[in-house]
């Protein structure tokens, strides 16, 4: 069993997951966009893991798979998402959907989807969305309790309490995003999975939201997966960071190590192209653009843009190499041959 090799106290284990979008034409599949290619990672208690990478590299697809929110055209070809629920690992990809919806989602793992400002029911007042969520999970609903909870969590996230009586369209995108975040913390889940949680807000609000999320996480000793293309968000939030490129995890490790000493050629260029506060010296970005995931290049998916590409890179996929304990890089430069 492959799980045997993994640390036994991981709370979530993603094992060799392959997935993507099946594009059909007249009912027949014509194209497969291979957005998540043989991905594995683990999440430990009381940790924040960031998933980084540029747009289209498969971060959101991976997040959907982890949550088990798999709907056409998304399909999972293989792999498992093992979630620890009362001492047992359950494979979310195989478990009964109704059970997962009632007992796992929100309670054990909650998900703040990308563009979360659009997920609130437009026909319902915010208060009713909250009450509905309580009810669905079989919680007794005490109006007073709900209102008390809501005003607490709303004030943490800077949402005016009157927003509770509003319909979603009466609130700004940033405000709706903060409400969805508040909802996701409702049942003190063990894992919060947040996909670009601060895209619709300005820098000041972004810092406020992230700080509140982090404080909540530290207080509850929960775990969090933060998906973002913004390396500033990762530098601020992550204990551990996972770098994705074109559907692959190319590198992962302690955030400090990855930022200070990136190993993969892609991570190196990415980190060196970042503009820091108060910098004016001319920097160089990366040439070219990421590949089409329905027709990725053979071998290492980064080889057409890699300054170090060798023959083997064009032919064979590099393995994920554990260069140190829990420090992985998928690149032939680090293979012992």
């Amino acid at each position: 069993m492959p799980e045997k090799h993994l640390e036994k106290d991981a709370i979530l284990k993603v094992v060799n997951v392959d997935g993507g979008y099946v594009i059909r034409y007249g009912g027949r599949p014509v194209k497969f966009i291979h957005a998540v290619d043989n991905v594995s990672l683990e999440l430990y208690p009381n940790r924040i893991v960031g998933i980084a990478g540029e747009s289209g590299c498969g971060k959101s697809t991976l997040a959907k798979i982890i949550y088990g929110a798999i709907e056409p055209p998304l399909e999972v070809k293989q792999g498992s998402v093992l979630l620890k629920v009362s001492e047992e690992y359950e494979d979310l990809l195989k478990a009964d959907r109704a059970y997962v919806a009632k007992e796992i989602w929100w309670k054990v793992i909650s998900y703040i989807p990308q563009n979360s400002m659009n997920v609130l029911n437009p026909m319902k007042k915010i208060r009713d969305s909250f009450i509905e969520t309580f009810k669905f999970h079989g919680m007794a609903v005490d109006k007073k309790e709900v209102t008390k909870y809501i005003s607490e969590v709303f004030s943490t996230f800077g949402v005016p309490v009157d927003a509770i009586n509003a319909y979603p369209h009466q609130l700004s995108g940033g405000m709706r995003q903060r409400i969805v975040i508040s909802l996701s913390l409702l049942f003190d889940p063990k894992i919060v999975l947040a996909d670009e949680p601060t895209t619709a807000v300005d820098v000041v609000t972004q810092l406020g939201i992230l700080t509140s999320l982090k404080e909540w996480q530290r207080e509850k000793k929960s775990s969090m997966i933060i998906v973002s293309h913004d390396m500033g968000v990762h530098a601020y939030m992550d204990d551990e960071v996972v770098i994705m490129y074109a559907g692959n995890i190319v590198e992962r490790g302690e955030a400090e190590d990855v930022f200070n000493d990136p190993l993969h050629p892609y991570t190196k260029i990415l980190i060196s192209s970042l503009i820091k506060k108060g910098e004016k010296t001319i920097k160089k970005g990366i040439a070219g653009s990421p590949p089409d995931l329905s027709n990725p290049p053979p071998g290492c998916r980064f080889h057409p843009r890699c300054p170090f590409a060798m023959d083997i890179c064009r032919r064979e996929k590099p393995p994920s190499i554990e260069v140190e304990k829990s420090r992985f890089v998928a690149c032939w430069l680090y293979a012992k041959r």
Partner: protein, 341 residues
């Protein structure tokens, strides 16, 4: 009322010394369900660019602070309710019809989303040839040479682009092409509205480097609109900060960035999340406030609701724009002394 005397003084400025002079521009928009109530999306905003030397001017502000509205006014897409815009001494809202085409050659713009700029059914090069035909009225041979030279300036070439459509390009390439189209007329002023916010970090600096080239090699001034302070400092010479439609601070970027005076600018600078792991503990967390239309409507300082230094006066009366050292300006009661009010 001292504030008004202050502003009147600015009027005596000779607009002939400026490439662009935006003079106390105010714009009202409707809000509420029917849009019947009005708020000031721009509240007496003034800024200027010198004539002699090309500048990279950064306009910073959060979503809804009025940045795009100001650009659209400079582009003559909307008219201000009060105030005026002078370009090379001409009031741009009083141009003669013969001058309108000249103005379009002189002042060009690029926008945030490259995918909205181009129609997917047209070939990309046709956009560039349209500009050379309608705005420059040059022949085919000459146009091809100019288009190719301009595309090379942004790191592409006519051969690379010819006959292709939008889906054959990445976002970064499309943004290069947008820049090429905008600089084809060799404008003296280029307006860029969040041009890199949709691009990934590793592509961003390449585009920003092109703006530096535009300033240094083409001698074109650029107004770079963004909410991103780190890239602002990377490219900018001067900057202005907008908050709720009010210009709260402006000046040379070195001053404003390294020694922000306005409490809002200070908050903004403190909120930048840096892609630098070694300073993560230096970030000072802040409390979130619930921001509402109320802040636009207050008669006092628009930042009073969130300002740590607020006094009763701030809530009642809007602070005047105060010049400091002749090199910068700040709109905050903290900086009023008997000598400069």
């Amino acid at each position: 009322m001292l504030a008004i005397c202050k502003e009147v003084k600015i009027l005596s400025v000779d607009v002939g010394n400026y490439l662009l002079y935006v003079d106390r521009v105010t714009k009202f928009f409707g809000y509420g369900l029917l849009g019947l109530r009005k708020f000031k999306a721009l509240d007496e905003v003034s800024l200027s660019l010198p004539l002699q030397e090309p500048r990279l001017f950064v306009l910073i502000g959060e979503t809804g602070s009025g940045k795009t509205t100001l650009l659209r006014i400079i582009l003559r897409m909307i008219e201000p309710d009060m105030g005026s815009v002078y370009y090379k001494s001409k009031n741009v809202f009083k141009l003669r019809s013969s001058e309108v085409k000249w103005y379009r050659r002189e002042v060009q713009a690029i926008f945030q989303d490259p995918y909205e700029t181009f129609n997917p059914l047209r070939t990309i090069d046709s956009y560039l040839f349209d500009v050379s035909k309608y705005l420059l009225s040059i022949g085919k041979k000459e146009a091809e040479a100019l288009v190719d030279e301009t595309l090379r300036f942004v790191g592409l070439s006519l051969d690379r682009v010819k006959g292709k459509r939008i889906r054959e390009f990445s976002g970064g390439e499309l943004q290069r092409i947008s820049i090429a189209r905008a600089i084809l007329t060799r404008p003296s002023l280029l307006l860029a509205d969040e041009p890199v916010s949709m691009l990934d970090a590793s592509l961003r600096v390449n585009i920003l480097n092109i703006f530096k080239d535009v300033r240094d090699k083409l001698k074109t001034s650029v107004i770079y609109v963004t909410h991103d302070l780190a890239t602002a400092y990377y490219v900018g010479d001067e900057m202005a900060v907008l908050y709720r439609g009010v210009l709260v601070e402006s000046g040379s970027i070195e001053y404003v960035y390294n020694d922000p005076l306005h409490p809002y600018t200070q908050l903004l600078l403190n909120s930048i999340l840096e892609p630098d792991i070694n300073i993560k503990d230096r970030v000072k967390p802040i409390k979130l406030s619930s921001i509402e239309i109320k802040e636009f409507l207050t008669p006092g300082c628009k930042f009073a609701n969130r300002c740590p230094y607020v006094t009763p006066k701030c809530n009642k009366e809007a602070p005047p724009l105060i010049r400091v050292n002749g090199k910068r300006a700040v709109r905050c009661w903290l900086y009023t002394t008997s000598s400069n009010t």
